[in-house]
């Protein structure tokens, strides 16, 4: 079992326009914990920093400051090759995340071989078939021989999940795993993720912009707005009793014919950047806290400007 403790993560990008330089803070003092068997949903609009957090967690980017502390149960820190074995990711677009040149077998077999989970070619093939059948791609041998363009979006995403689990990973980052899929197959893929999580007691970070699936699929919701956490708490509490203006807006964004006017009003407010992201409502503590500051200072209670 592996735990992830993310604290005070900051990521700044340098923007260059001509000779001018400016810095864009994509992630501003975000802290969160991933524990085995629990799913944390990271919710926010495009550009709120969700995918940056995923990239930092999978070590595709390095943070400007802050730490990602991954430890095994006995307290050993997870580093280097072990990190790749423990923390894996499911990408958003199943049409882009599989190499069109290679067979399905290649995609699942490579992680097995890299992390020496299997030794001989026969053993690898057997494990690949087993992994594919675990994600409901049966018969596995037949799917293994195919190439990505012969599979539907949902089937490809299942292959991507099998690949992410192949190294025996304990922490799964799912970056909008169903947003590119047909509505009709989203639930199937989500239920599959849920089942695998229960079976392997995975720690899952579920990144999404859709509050409805976040509530269905996760235990805890962290709402991100312009790089800062503006609300966090148990899934039901955040959705049924949202405190922050932005969370209310997200909750209202679900289509409801009677509330069309208010949603559009709110949308204009975010476009002008008028929602206050300096405070965060923590449902666990039951109080407002300062957002975008180091974790030890954030404990001090604060008041939202608008409330």
């Amino acid at each position: 079992m592996t735990r992830v403790h993310v604290s005070d993560l900051v990521k700044e990008y340098t923007m260059r326009t001509g000779l001018r330089r400016s810095r864009l803070r994509a992630v501003d003092h975000v802290s969160l914990d991933l524990v085995p068997g629990r799913t944390v949903a990271l919710v926010g609009e495009s550009g709120s920093g969700k995918s940056t957090i995923a990239k930092i967690l999978t070590r595709m980017e390095s943070p400007t400051s802050g730490t990602v502390d991954v430890r095994l149960d006995d307290g050993t820190p997870v580093r280097g090759a072990l990190y790749r074995r423990q923390v894996q990711m499911v990408f958003q677009d199943p049409f882009a995340s599989l190499n069109p040149f290679h067979s399905i077998e290649h995609h699942v077999a490579r992680p097995l071989r890299i992390h020496q989970r299997t030794r001989t070619a026969d053993e690898t093939h057997e494990r690949v078939v087993e992994m594919l059948e675990r994600v409901n791609l049966t018969p596995g041998a037949e799917f293994a021989a195919r190439r990505p363009h012969e599979l539907s979006g949902g089937q490809r995403q299942r292959v991507a999940i099998a690949r992410a689990l192949a190294p025996g990973s304990q922490v799964l980052i799912a970056d909008e795993p169903v947003s590119m899929l047909d509505v009709s197959i989203r639930l199937g893929v989500l239920n599959l993720l849920g089942r695998l999580q229960r079976e392997d007691r995975l720690a899952v970070l579920y990144i999404t912009h859709d509050l409805a699936t976040a509530r269905h699929f996760s235990d805890e919701i962290v709402v991100l707005y312009r790089g800062r956490v503006v609300e966090r708490g148990p899934a039901d509490a955040v959705i049924l009793d949202p405190h922050h203006d932005y969370t209310k807006l997200l909750a209202m964004a679900a289509p409801d014919p009677e509330r069309v006017d208010r949603v559009t009003l709110g949308q204009e407010a975010t476009d002008r950047g008028e929602i206050d992201n300096s405070v965060c409502f923590d449902h666990f503590a039951g109080e407002w806290q300062e957002a975008g500051v180091p974790a030890d200072r954030a404990r001090e209670p604060a008041r939202p400007r608008s409330a």
């Binding site: 070590r59 595709m60 190499n99 069109p100 195919r146």
Partner: protein, 339 residues
């Protein structure tokens, strides 16, 4: 509107399309990624392959079947005859024998330069773009510099600078390769920049794949059609470039290529003496080799740009539909006549 047909009657074009789909489904054996890289056999590709394979065979096997190309006889400038199918030169050398050896020499240079230029462009184009940062900037600068160097004048200067004795096959090949890799490197760089940002590359990095494996196994196969097309282009350019160099007397020392043949024909006043059998054959071989390689290149283009392939298939389908429609019309006309 005389040819109104009932709505449920399938249109001929639909029938053709259905037939195509059915064939696709039936013939779907598990295809490997390599299969995808092969161009579709079209008449143009067949002609191109036939030309290139024919000329290559002539260059490889021909020299064993003909006599000594250097042997001087006292029958100068005889037109093609039974004894000398392509006649003789001013000094009585057999043109066919010379042609066989010259074809071999030109193909050697072409292949050598093709390989060298492809390796150079693949290294500078792909590796730089994959690494990014300083490496990319440096490699990019280098290929830009080589790109603006005027090729043939530089080749002439270098070839003129190197003394004739040490100007061997390799010298010419290296000089030609150095002046011709840059454009291909830029194309490969652009393509690599696009491929390296794709999710599957990120996914293999997240899996813990080593950088060289990411380049060779994940990125390179998706660039192979581009590389193949650049290779074919480099061969054409090399054969032509070498012919040009040899024609002005700057080719490899004591080598026999199509260019040197033309050089001697020019020096021997073949044109003014009307000895067409002396200068036409090497010219035709160069032209045919260029044509064949270009036709192969067009077919490779279809893999890079599937739109071209779709266009061709669409036209084929439309032609078949039109034919079917004509047949149906003819049949119904006959029925009317019978009634």
């Amino acid at each position: 509107m005389t040819n109104l047909s009932p709505a449920n009657e399938p249109l001929p074009s639909d029938a053709v399309e259905q037939e195509d789909l059915a064939r696709d489904r039936a013939g779907r054996a598990p295809r490997s990624g390599w299969r995808m890289l092969l161009p579709t056999m079209t008449p143009w590709l067949a002609v191109g392959l036939a030309l290139v394979v024919g000329i290559t065979l002539f260059g490889v096997l021909g020299p064993y079947l003909v006599g000594d190309p250097q042997q001087i006889r006292d029958q100068g400038l005889t037109p093609p005859s039974g004894e000398f199918p392509l006649g003789t030169t001013q000094t009585g050398q057999d043109v066919l024998a010379q042609l066989a050896h010259a074809t071999r020499g030109s193909l050697q240079i072409g292949f050598l330069v093709g390989v060298l230029a492809t390796v150079l462009s693949a290294f500078f184009g792909i590796y730089g773009a994959y690494r990014g940062g300083i490496a990319d900037e440096a490699f990019s600068l280098l290929s830009n510099v080589f790109l603006v160097i005027p090729g043939l004048p530089l080749v002439i200067v270098i070839s003129g600078f190197v003394p004739r004795e040490s100007r061997g096959l390799w010298t010419i090949a290296v000089v030609l390769a150095l002046t011709s890799w840059a454009a291909a490197a830029r194309v490969l760089r652009a393509q690599t920049l696009s491929v390296r940002g794709r999710d599957y590359v990120a996914a293999s990095k997240v899996s813990g794949e080593r950088p060289w494996r990411v380049i060779v196994v994940e990125i390179l196969p998706n660039l192979l059609p581009v590389i193949a097309s650049q290779f074919v282009f480099a061969v054409i350019a090399a054969v032509l470039g070498e012919a040009g160099l040899s024609f002005i007397g700057l080719g490899a020392a004591n080598s026999a290529t199509l260019g040197t043949m033309l050089f001697y024909a020019q020096n021997g006043f073949a044109l003014s003496l009307g000895a067409w059998w002396w200068f036409l054959p090497p010219g035709i071989i160069i032209a045919l080799l260029g044509t064949g390689l270009s036709l192969i290149n067009f077919s490779i283009d279809e893999i890079i740009n599937p739109k071209l392939k779709n266009l061709r298939q669409h036209r084929k389908r439309a032609r078949r539909a039109a034919r079917l429609e004509r047949e149906l019309a003819g049949r119904s006309a006959k029925e009317v006549a019978a009634r």
